[in-house]
């Protein structure tokens, strides 16, 4: 039996707050952070709302050399990484660099940087393309830059599986620790609020065309009609329990206790979607009975079919109205690879405070037998939380986070 894998540091860059305290102050009361797109002129696009991080100036957070060579998504990831390592109380040199790694998830990569360089390529010629396009667009750029900045020389990597990637990265980080690593920084980020990013998401056909920030993204509601996209994510410091204890880690937020991932059957096969099995697998991995679970953070895709599939999976595992379910991402929109790591942060903060943040704006459809924590937060003792995430194309992932005494 492996030692436990603990969460000892967290950093968040979300539309609802940059830094854990601001983020939680907004999330716990369901403060809306969705608004009109301001990062580019979206007036001619069918989807014109986004969860944007306002007031983030990369120059205040990054060394001068890094700003011209990084996409916004990497800048957000580096800011969150600084917060996470400061929170964990780990500085370069504290731990053998080869015992530390970083595994992040990315959905779109550096799509704003890449879009700008493509515009230069076709508009002004190849000589105008930045040399940094060679890596700034790349999905692995976040892991690479975090690894350099924080001196993480151990096993590192990136996973790309849309929203599910945010949990798949955590699982890969736990594998690295179980294989002998001491610490792995892990999470996920996306920053798609740019013309190219928007074009890619629109092509998926599930973006909301709603114009009112509080009516555009309504998962599990009769009026669900797609999702609003947002930018940001979270980075967690995961540590081997013995290592964390021996260095005297000052905060243990919880344990990454279980993980399960499945892939959906071929469309039209008539077979059950894979989400229920992902939850069951994660519970088994954690040695956890469904009755022990205090809250489920839903993927909350925001389309009728995906909402129904998720509600059925949750009801099938936990019983009708058998567990509180919430989706605080209604305040930020869906953050791609960043969404689930942000939910994991919300899960451990729910444990800390004894409060489940609300799913805002949603009136639960009578079609779903869920105990949805809608509109207002709910006080509750939270010891075990499930976080769900699905990726376009059939990815299903579930993570169990458990309180540590």
């Amino acid at each position: 039996m492996s030692a436990r894998t603990l969460v000892t540091g967290i950093g968040v860059a979300a539309p609802s707050g940059l830094g854990v305290e601001d983020f939680w102050a907004a999330t716990r009361v369901g403060k809306n952070a969705i608004g009109p797109v301001t990062r580019f002129d979206a007036s001619s696009y069918p989807s014109r709302l986004a969860g944007e991080i306002h007031g983030f100036d990369a120059r205040e957070h990054l060394p001068g050399r890094l700003v011209p060579q990084t996409d916004r998504v990497t800048q957000l990831a580096l800011a969150a990484a600084d917060h996470a390592f400061a929170d964990a109380g780990v500085a370069p040199g504290d731990i053998d660099p080869y015992g530390m790694g970083v595994v992040t998830a990315a959905g779109s990569g550096g799509v704003e940087f890449g879009g700008n360089e493509l515009r230069k390529l076709w508009g002004r010629g190849a000589k105008h393309v930045s040399a940094y396009q060679s890596f700034a667009w790349f999905h692995a750029a976040n892991s690479g830059q975090i690894s350099i900045r924080h001196g993480l020389s151990g096993p590192s990597g990136v996973v790309v599986s849309d929203h599910a990637g945010g949990l798949d990265a955590l699982a890969q980080a736990r594998r690295q620790i179980r294989a002998g690593g001491r610490l792995t920084a892990t999470g996920g980020f996306d920053a798609p609020v740019s013309p190219w990013g928007w074009a890619a998401q629109l092509a998926g056909g599930m973006m909301s065309a709603g114009a009112e920030p509080e009516r555009a993204y309504l998962p599990f509601d009769e009026d669900a009609a797609g999702y609003v996209a947002g930018e940001g994510g979270a980075l967690l410091v995961l540590e081997d329990e013995d290592s964390a204890r021996s260095r005297g880690a000052r905060t243990v937020y919880g344990e990454l206790a279980g993980y399960g991932a499945t892939f959906d059957p071929r469309p039209g096969s008539g077979r059950e979607p894979g989400l229920r099995r992902a939850i069951d697998t994660a519970l088994t991995d954690a040695g956890c009975h469904p009755a022990e679970v205090d809250v489920v953070f839903a993927d909350a895709a925001g389309t009728k079919r995906l909402d129904r599939e998720e509600a059925e999976a949750i009801t099938s595992v936990f019983g009708p109205r058998g567990v509180p379910v919430t989706a605080p991402k209604t305040t930020t929109g869906r953050l791609g690879a960043g969404a689930a790591p942000v939910d994991v942060v919300s899960a451990v903060l729910s444990m800390r405070e004894g409060l489940i943040p609300p799913t805002t704006n949603v009136e639960l459809s009578p079609a779903y037998d869920l105990d949805l924590v809608a509109v207002r937060p709910r006080t509750a003792s939270v010891r075990t939380a499930v976080v769900l995430a699905r990726g376009r194309g059939g990815f299903n992932s579930a993570v169990i986070v458990r309180a540590v005494d």
Binding site: P63, G64, R65, P68, Q69, Y132
Partner: protein, 96 residues
């Protein structure tokens, strides 16, 4: 090929500092306005990609083509400025 309306005929130390800053930023430990003419680019914190980007920007702004190994052969600001100006003079002779 689009070029500047009036091609510049001299590449100055200020040009270099401005282009470095625009294209690659600056290390907080380094004062570009200090005595750096004979400090090699690597010590100033600029790796190969930063120099590639800098070379590309010089070529665009001054409408010249630099040798691929211009930074290998000229590893300090003083040497690079001299090399760029030599290329500029050669280009002016061809044009004239």
């Amino acid at each position: 090929m689009k070029g500047p309306t009036v091609a510049k005929t001299e590449f100055t130390f200020d040009d270099l500092k401005r282009i470095l800053l625009d294209g690659a930023g600056a290390d907080e430990e380094i004062d570009l306005d200090g005595d750096i003419l004979d400090t090699d680019f690597e010590s100033l914190g600029y790796e190969s990609l930063a120099l590639l980007e800098t070379g590309g920007r010089i070529e665009r702004e001054f409408a010249i083509t630099l040798d691929d190994d211009v930074f290998t052969d000229n590893s300090t600001p003083r040497a690079l400025i001299a090399a760029v100006n030599e290329t500029l003079r050669a280009a002016a002779l061809v044009d004239a």
